[in-house]
Each structure stands twice: as C-alpha cells, then as structure tokens.
C-alpha cells in the first residue's frame, strides 16, 4: 500500500502546551494548557485567513475538548478534577464530578456518542490538582461516562472500564459500538497499549482486543498514545512517540483491526492530540506539548465531528 506522506505545517503557536482540539464547523478550537490559576485559554484558529483568536480565557489546564451532538462544548479540566461545559454566554458550568459519592481523578480526554454521553479517561495524573490536597483519589483509574439521568436530567457518572490503570485517551467508532482506549503509562515497565472494547447491548464493555502495543529500545520506553480520534470510515488516527526514543513523534492511522495503515513523522516533539478539520473535514490537525498547532491538508481521509 502506498500513501502520500502528509505535510504538516505549523499554523499557530501558543506559550503553554497545546492540548485539546475541537472543530466548530468554521474554525479549530485548541486549548493552551497552563498550570496555575489565572492561566490557560482556548484559542480558535480560522483557516479562512490563518488568524488565531482568543475563544476563552482562564481555562487553566483544560486538556481534551469536544462538542456534543447538540453543539455543547465540553472540556476536561485535569488540574481541577472535573469535566465542564463551556456555555455560549461565556460562563462555565460543572457537569458532575462525583461517582458514588466520591470525587473522580483527573480527566484528560473525552469522546461523545450520538446520545450525548461523555466518555472520558480519568487517570491518576502527575499534575498536581489545585488547592488544598484533601480530596482523596479513587482507588481505580478508569474510563468513566457522564450521562444525564432520563427523569431528572441531572448528570451522573458510571464506571466503564475495570481493567485499566492509566487510561489517557478515548475514541468511539462511528457506530458507537466500539470504545478505543489508550492505556498510556510512560514510566518504565508501564503498559502503552491501544485497546478496542466492544460496547455490548447491555451497555457494558466486553473483553478488549489489544490492537497495538508500544515497545522500548536502548533509550527507554516509547511514549504511548496521548490523543486520538476516528475517521468517517472507522479507522483510528492517533498521535504518540517522542524524540527521546523509538521511531520519534508520529501520527498513526490504525484500521479497526489494528493494522497500521499509515504513519507520518511529525515535525514537532511530544504530540498531544489530533482531530480533523477544515471544509469537508479533510485536514488533520495536531497539537504539541511545545504549544504548536500543526495542520496537514488533504489527508486523504475525512473526519467526523459534532461541531456546529
């Protein structure tokens, strides 16, 4: 199989690390993750004129962001231990941050299904959470799901995975039948895996298929997947790797069965997330820990997005 190498170019740069991505129909929203109160932002890149504008201030360490099917914008505030909704009037509201009466950990990435349910990764993070450290963490690090109680319309959280220890990123297949989970523990001996869990008729997960496992070399453990999304054909696009070891920072395209259909070297280290954007959702965008927003036009695939 021959594929054209994608040509990534830097289209925007922020001072902090760049994290989440969400295409809003006209522009690409991306987060600037800053530790410390009074920092962080969501920026909006406009591909029409190449400009970048400020979309939202003071979002601190908001990692993954995503639109729901009704156009609502959600974000994982890793250092505040919550998934929030960014309202159109400029306010920011909490969804729910307790599961069975206990506060969850530090959400990193999220994916929404057609029913508006929010699937998010909730690892123990190396990032210190804000404020006094009196709120205990869960004894597990899982994929959790926010959904609205059908009668009361209040958010509630359900635990989805029972066999993860370091979930970093999630994606859903276009038919919402498969949950992809990146189990990413970059510490020595940690697992760095891409897993596919079938979502069963009773809404629980079946046993996962291990689609890909990242290796190690003389310089250490290869950095696992940090962000991913699915294309309209159901393939998985993921970013992983670093200049420290292994094959370097890469964008991968995996088939649903785990075959590596494409891999593309990225021109910047420590990729954080990837998403489709531009007219027809035919371009791929990548954020990096160095604050870059990269784009490759005409990637030969099309994305899917709830962006308005």
């Amino acid at each position: 199989m021959t594929t054209t190498k994608l040509k990534f170019e830097k289209v925007a740069q922020v001072a902090g690390a760049a994290g989440g991505l969400a295409w809003d129909g006209i522009g690409m929203l991306f987060t600037e993750m800053v530790m410390g109160m009074g920092g962080g932002s969501i920026r909006r890149y406009n591909p029409q004129d190449g400009s970048t504008s400020l979309f939202r201030k003071y979002t601190v360490l908001t990692n993954g962001i995503a639109f729901g099917p009704d156009g609502s914008l959600y974000g994982c505030q890793e250092s505040s231990r919550r998934v929030v909704r960014f309202m159109d009037d400029g306010s920011t509201t909490l969804t729910e941050c307790q599961i069975n009466g206990r506060y969850h950990n530090q959400p990193t990435k999220l994916a929404l299904d057609a029913r508006g349910r929010i699937w998010f990764t909730d690892p123990w993070s190396t990032v210190r959470s804000f404020g006094p450290q009196f709120v205990p963490y869960l004894e597990h690090a899982s994929v959790l799901r926010l959904e609205r109680d059908p009668q009361r319309r209040l958010w509630e959280i359900k635990r989805i995975t029972f066999d993860t220890a370091a979930p970093r990123a999630v994606a859903l297949s276009p038919d919402d039948q498969t949950l992809y989970v990146a189990e990413t523990d970059n510490n020595p001996g940690g697992l760095r895996e891409l897993r596919a869990y079938p979502i069963q008729a009773d809404d629980t997960l079946g046993p996962y298929r291990l689609l890909h496992s990242f290796g190690r070399d003389y310089r250490g453990e290869q950095r696992g997947i940090e962000g991913m999304c699915t294309d309209s054909a159901g393939n998985l696009v993921a970013v992983a790797g670093s200049n420290k070891c292994g094959p370097g920072p890469l964008l991968y395209v995996f088939s649903p069965s785990g075959a590596v259909l494409e891999s593309h070297a990225l021109p910047a280290d420590l990729p954080m997330n990837c998403a489709f954007g531009d007219a027809g959702l035919g371009s791929l965008y990548v954020t990096t820990a160095g604050g870059e927003l990269l784009r490759a036009r005409d990637c030969g695939r099309t994305g899917r997005s709830f962006g308005r």
Binding site: M37, G38, V60, V84, G90, T92, Y103, F130, F134
Partner: protein, 298 residues
C-alpha cells in the same frame, strides 16, 4: 497544653504553654470563618466543603445555623452586629439581616462577576474589605455554580460604608487570602498564600491603600500556608503558616509559633474578655486562651 516553638522572650507575655487546648467540634471537611458574636456569646464558623455555617454556645453545644451556605468562607460582624460573609462559591459578599433575610453586598465589579470572596473584615467606619482570590473557580470540592474567571486580577475590594460603591484597593498580591487591620486601623495587612508573605498597606483617609511593603515572610519546612490572620489589641499578628500558627510582633518579627498537628485555616478571638482564642483546622474547632485580647470585630 499548647505546643510552642521558635519562642522568643516576647512570646510568654502573649501565650502560656499550660493554657488549655480543647477541641470543641470535630467532623468538618474544611473548617474556616471563625468569628465570635459578643451579642449572644456564641461562636460561629463554617465548613466550606460541607456547605454549612455552625454555631457553638457554651452549655448548648454545636448546631447548624445555615445550610446550604454557598460554601461560605470568611465571616465577621459589622458595627450593627450583622453577620457579613465572604461567600466563596456564591461569588458574592452577603449579609444576614436581623430578621434572618440575606442581602447581597457585592457580586460584580465593573459589570463582571468577582472571583470568590475568601476573607472579610469590617473597618470601624463601616467599610467592608474582602479578599477575592479565585479558589472556588479552580479547587476540587469547592466549585461555584459558574466556574469561569472574568476578572483579570485577584484583588482586595472595599465596599463603601453606604454599600453603594465597590472599589479595588489592592491588586499586587498574587493570591490574597487573610486580611486584618492594626488596632489603630492605619495599616491593613494582607497575606499571600502563594508567596507566604504578609504585606502591609498604609490606609488612606478615603479608605484606599498606599503602596505595599513586606511586613513578614512566613517560613518553615512543615506543611501549612498563609490563610487566616488576626491582630490583637497590642498589634501582634496571628497568621496560619508552616507548622501551625505564627505569632508576629508589630514590627514584623516572629515571636514564636503555636504548633498544630492538623492543618490550621483561621483563628478568632472571643469570650467576654477577648482572650478566648479559637482555631479552625480542616476538621476541627479548637479553643485555647491567650493573655492579650484580640481586636473586637464589633
């Protein structure tokens, strides 16, 4: 018994190691807001996370005064004896009237929502000063309804005695938390949780502040931060810090510390003679005795 350390000769006049130390309530998640009400000899404090304002009376014990409380934080009384509250998660300063109704005193500055009022003090002319750090917008388990920060600074605000005007009087503290006037009200102390510093400001006739100067830097390897702060009638400053409470003389020199195994959040003088001394920690309310009375809040 009090555990005192880093003692200098001046400390023994203020504190005696054999003073009783009673734990009179336990079970909060985040105690704060201690204040003595000399009108009815009661003591009030809050559990921020527990969303409750408590009242303690000798011979009666502890009862819930207000719940939910909007995760109320610092509290004081004004000259009319009304409870004034730094509303934290309510993003407002509010007052409990004599009939029990609630009045919002501040919620907006120049049309924007303020951050999350942390602690509060009332000057003798009736002006209210409060710190406005944004912790309720970011800290887990303390979340406000609207989590968005709108102001581009963390300030100390002044509400004019007639309640009609809200001015920002301090903007150069990174994370303003505790605040207290000297007994003559010529100086305002504001502490900074982030830098572990107490800054002193000259109070101008119009209630605004002159430039800040470093009054004291809190040091120590133990856990503990600059949070609650109060002043006694001789101008000595009590401030939470590493290891417990730091006692600082009017020149800014450390006199010694009262050690606490628990994380201290704030303190208040009380009792008929102003020498009962209450300390809130995350989980408990303690009471001891001091030998120099505090500045009465009203």
């Amino acid at each position: 018994m009090l555990e005192l350390d880093l003692e200098t000769p001046g400390l023994s006049r203020l504190l005696a190691a054999d003073a009783p130390l009673d734990r009179i309530y336990h079970g909060m998640t985040f105690g704060e807001g201690p204040v003595w009400n000399r009108r009815d000899d009661s003591f009030l404090w809050v559990d921020i996370v527990g969303d409750t304002i408590y009242r303690y009376r000798k011979g009666v014990g502890t009862e819930v005064l207000i719940h939910p409380s909007g995760k109320a934080n610092g509290m004081t009384f004004d000259r009319q004896g009304r409870l004034n509250i730094a509303g934290w998660a309510s993003r407002s300063v509010w007052r409990v009237e004599a009939d029990g109704t609630v009045t919002t005193l501040a919620a907006l500055y120049e049309g924007k929502k303020i951050n999350s009022p942390n602690d509060i003090v009332v000057k003798s002319d009736g002006a209210i000063y409060f710190t406005d750090s944004p912790g309720a917008l970011y800290n887990p388990a303390m979340a406000a309804e609207d989590l968005q920060q709108y102001l581009d600074f963390q300030g100390v605000f002044r509400i004019s005695p007639d309640g009609k005007k809200i001015d920002v009087v301090v903007t150069d503290v990174v994370y303003p938390n505790g605040l207290a006037f000297t007994p003559d009200e010529k100086t305002l102390y504001v502490n900074c949780t982030r830098k572990s510093e107490i800054t002193a400001y000259d109070v101008k006739a119009d209630g605004s502040m002159g430039p800040g100067r470093l009054f004291h830097k809190l040091t120590g390897p133990e856990p503990g931060i600059a949070d609650g702060m109060k002043v006694d009638t001789e101008g000595n400053v009590y401030c939470t810090g590493p290891g417990g409470l730091h006692v600082i003389d009017p020149t800014g020199r450390l006199l010694g510390r009262i050690r606490f195994a628990e994380h201290c959040t704030n303190m208040a003088f009380g009792g008929a003679d102003g020498m009962d001394f209450y300390v809130t920690t995350y989980t408990s309310l303690f009471r001891t005795r001091v030998q120099v009375p505090g500045v009465a809040v009203w």
